[in-house]
Subunit: 678 residues, 2 copies
Amino acid sequence: MKRMHALALTMCLWSSMAAADPVAEVTSPDGRIRVQLDINPEGRLAYRVDRDGKPVLEDSRLGFQFRNAEALLRNLKLVKQATREVEADWELPWGERREVRNHYRELRVSIEETVRAQRHFDVVFRVYDDGFGFRYEMPRQPHATRVEIEDDLSEFAVARPATAWWIPAGEWNRYEYLYQKTPLSEVSQAHTPITVRTDDGLHLSFHEAALVDYAAMWLRRVDGQRLRAHLAPGGKEGASVVRMTPFSSPWRTVQISDRAGGLVESSLILNLNEPNKLGDVSWFKPAKYVGVWWSLHLDTESWATGSKHGATTANTRRYIDFAAQNGIRGVLVEGWNPGWDGMWFGNGWDFDFTRPVADFDLPALTAYAKTQAVHLVGHHETGCAVSHYETQLDASMAYAAEYGIDVVKTGYVCDAGQIERQDSKGGDITREWHDGQWMSNHHLRVVQAAAKHHVAVNPHEPIKDTGLRRTYPNWVSREGARGMEYNAWGQPPNPPDHEINLVFTRLLSGPMDYTPGIVSLTGRGGQEIPSTLARQLALYVTLYSPIQMVADLPEHYAKQPEAMKFIRDVPVDWDDTRVLNGEVGEFVTIARKARGSGTWAIGAMTDTQQRPVEFKLDFLTPGQRYRAEIYRDGEGADWRGDARFRFVREEKIVSADDTMAMTLAPGGGAAVLLVPLP
Amino acid sequence: MKRMHALALTMCLWSSMAAADPVAEVTSPDGRIRVQLDINPEGRLAYRVDRDGKPVLEDSRLGFQFRNAEALLRNLKLVKQATREVEADWELPWGERREVRNHYRELRVSIEETVRAQRHFDVVFRVYDDGFGFRYEMPRQPHATRVEIEDDLSEFAVARPATAWWIPAGEWNRYEYLYQKTPLSEVSQAHTPITVRTDDGLHLSFHEAALVDYAAMWLRRVDGQRLRAHLAPGGKEGASVVRMTPFSSPWRTVQISDRAGGLVESSLILNLNEPNKLGDVSWFKPAKYVGVWWSLHLDTESWATGSKHGATTANTRRYIDFAAQNGIRGVLVEGWNPGWDGMWFGNGWDFDFTRPVADFDLPALTAYAKTQAVHLVGHHETGCAVSHYETQLDASMAYAAEYGIDVVKTGYVCDAGQIERQDSKGGDITREWHDGQWMSNHHLRVVQAAAKHHVAVNPHEPIKDTGLRRTYPNWVSREGARGMEYNAWGQPPNPPDHEINLVFTRLLSGPMDYTPGIVSLTGRGGQEIPSTLARQLALYVTLYSPIQMVADLPEHYAKQPEAMKFIRDVPVDWDDTRVLNGEVGEFVTIARKARGSGTWAIGAMTDTQQRPVEFKLDFLTPGQRYRAEIYRDGEGADWRGDARFRFVREEKIVSADDTMAMTLAPGGGAAVLLVPLP
């Protein structure tokens, strides 16, 4: 090779990538999606994707940058390729559906450097009818043993003009933002999942699956509509990811659908995770829960002990009774343990998870709860002193289990968003990112420690969901977006389009503990919550979680007995899910079939526009009659002022031949139960 | 403080920043630019800027994120403030002007944490009539000794709709890109300087000054028109910047001008650097140079030894003669030293900078050059094995000086853009960024080692310029953008607007060794260079550098004697510079007054549009008559095809009362010398 040629290559632009004949390709089982791989004259590896012959992604490069080695980016050759087709359907132990179709075609290409170290790696594509994923597999090899990954250089260059819904990545506040809707060409750096709609109506969701022992992938737009992976920074390790070979990256995923709802119905993320490693998890019960929570956000009670303390024995007993009366299984109590007095945030090193504060008689309360078929829900707020929490991890899960606490909500609220890591007692404290490699491992340590004690986990301020509930089905829900508490004190509170955006963005990654059902529709200091009453009910169906909070105060539910009836009746575990209609950020109607009964539930919501919705009930069992219990916006309902309480409950008899029509008020919604008649 | 309040703060959004009464403010000496500081109820520090009462920057936060400590971002209070006004004009030993006006008002605010560690720091604003800069100063203090900076959180939120000219940061290819012109709202992550023009015509340039022992600041757009600092990554150190207190950050700078040309005329960056630390630097001679260079990019000669070797004794002697005949001081020879044979890039560990290859008789050549008043220009290509170069640094500069080589061109071409660092022999090699903290220190080590031997430095593939030539006047030029070599082999070559963009972006940071004067207008394999002949001459005036290459082959100049006359005559060191007209990316005309004579030079260039230009000569000495030697595009000249050679040289007598009018051809230009008549 001429040196001059080498110089020119070094200085040349990537734009010289030729759209040559592909070196490998694979299509989805239905043949509509085609992924092609290409290696250009510089030895750069790229892939491109079309669907029905129309380009979806243009040439998008693949590769790595390392801290302790040269980049794997050019001077690459394909040494081997293999394809296979797999059908391996499976069942979810709990979920938004029971049966998961898992049918894909796989292309594995083995890539080797043409120069020097001759390092090699595989890229594996799995192409489904509803999208695809790819990952890198780095075998054990002489010139790549301890690998320090500076960045993943994978690209996603969207081929048609498009709009994006996204939240910023690299910010102190993790995932708690309102979604921005901008031209894709105005995205800066976004978390995944990021949802994209091309101007001609194709819906895409970019995300990752099976984020294990790795840093989260952010997507940074480099120019035009070209997004590029950028790994969450490395904290103490320096490099974003440090691994010994062999290892695999998480799957980088792209869901593709003509309908917005198609993204919601996809099981691509779950399919790209490993099967259940925990075996029988019937000890986890999908359920609703109440708790000492909303009062804390209203600032009428406090986490700290003293006159306002919420987690007292008497107050908790009141919640246990309320739960029991309404057939609700769980009672969350925040502020039950030592560490909350004084200014706790950034001071999580004082938290103790294995003993209650003096005015909270945990043994007595759990004994009483047991008589009511109620279980306390644990709460482990770390204040981001994550190393401190880890020293108590097994003990705290054992302690919970001992008292019948089989779901634990964890928390990672910290100053300026940085996690505190201390590898040895008295050692230096390093700041880590919420979604860096160390935290990806931390969350799995928690989930595994909890599983040992048959405890389920529900982290708040978590790492994003990447479908690991398939592998660890006790990882049941999480926060990871702007939740209901912003309606207590947020400036602004969550506007009506936010919850619709959640369905088509955050919820694509997995269940969210949004904590719905604030029937008082009022936050701190009388602030109006931008929602109608009916919409609060719809949230139980539209925002999937196997644990759903009944988040308002018992005394507020007492004033809304009709709404409370729905909350009591709505299931939390499903055999099937259908998105009946919807557009990102505008409106959505979802129907779900309950497990263990023939009941269907429907939730619908709209943005600030009043909207008629009409849908066929053809998903119902033919010939079966159902009682439709309809909870909808009343005449003149509106998300502003007293009109947000205008509400109608009515019943009808319907069957699969019927069409249901309703009008959703501005900022409103509707919730329906379809109960089979005998 | 109530714990609940603390929780809410932690979860609240930055958007709650109130535009309250400022806690401190300062204006420019002329009163037109006003900078205000604000601390919101969360204790967040922000600044905003207006000019003539109209907002330029909206509330833009200030702060830091650390790897080994909590962020300094909220819970801040102002404990002290002080202002002063300074006038301290100074002289450049060489430059685009002699006298530099330095008049500013300074605001120093002392900021302290209200919580815990009570860390404190100062922010210092210096406001000039043509913009402002600010920096952080971190004193020695108990809770901040060894500081690991994860990121600088400074923002620049442009208040009016605007367009930006920018190149991407965080890419493997450093700074070598064509400029993108996009709405500011479509910038992703950019290097500085980035140039912005508001829709109502205000020109802004965002950059930094005095980048010493620090990582370069990139600007990442976080949303809308809000840019935020992002420090180049840390390589081996992990954190982007690791410093012991006390230390100061570089100055973050914003130039503001109604005219595009005002940005070029500004000395803000230089003013914010420390004064000359080298004392008398008259040993550096601004000069032109020729050399074994273009032939290498044409691939007619080679860096490597063998039949195509360019750096032979005989060939170099030919260049020495050519230089002597044309009164040119320097002869650059690339490929003179061992290490180029084999595939050199990524293999810089073989380079030797203290002995020539066998067919290059350095002692004889330098002895001969001396008889011709010619000096060889040294070449130290590191191939990015920077640690290896450092082991030879002093010896290589001593070696150069011994042979009368008083300018050295260094180079940092490497595979995938990453620098190789090895702290001890046989130790691990870490990849560093070209513009990370370690490289900012490396470049200064080179400049200081060179200064000791009275050698000037001209790095290619350098760290960006931040005005350090004021402090180290032997740092005379550098590359740091897409230069002329792209016209030899680039796909595409540099389009006509590129060189105009350079004037208004890259050149705002300092001199550039663009290597102009390719009068053959032809690259490798006959590729046409997108330029007229006259435009090649204009580049000597429009793209400032105190060392200017006469970059084409001697035999090509022999065919263009008229053009060669200008190249021979044009000065390289100036008393004054005026931008007569210009718009970013469209056209520009610059006049410069030579040092040591009354001669003025004018360069003009246009994009692909033919353009009449007309300007007054009122900058000339009144009453003095001048011979205008005009080199302009001929009738029908065009940057495409043979028409690019259409060229006219003509002379006129002019005075300060005259107006000069010319028509620039598409992709064309003009160069004028105005020589005082006796």
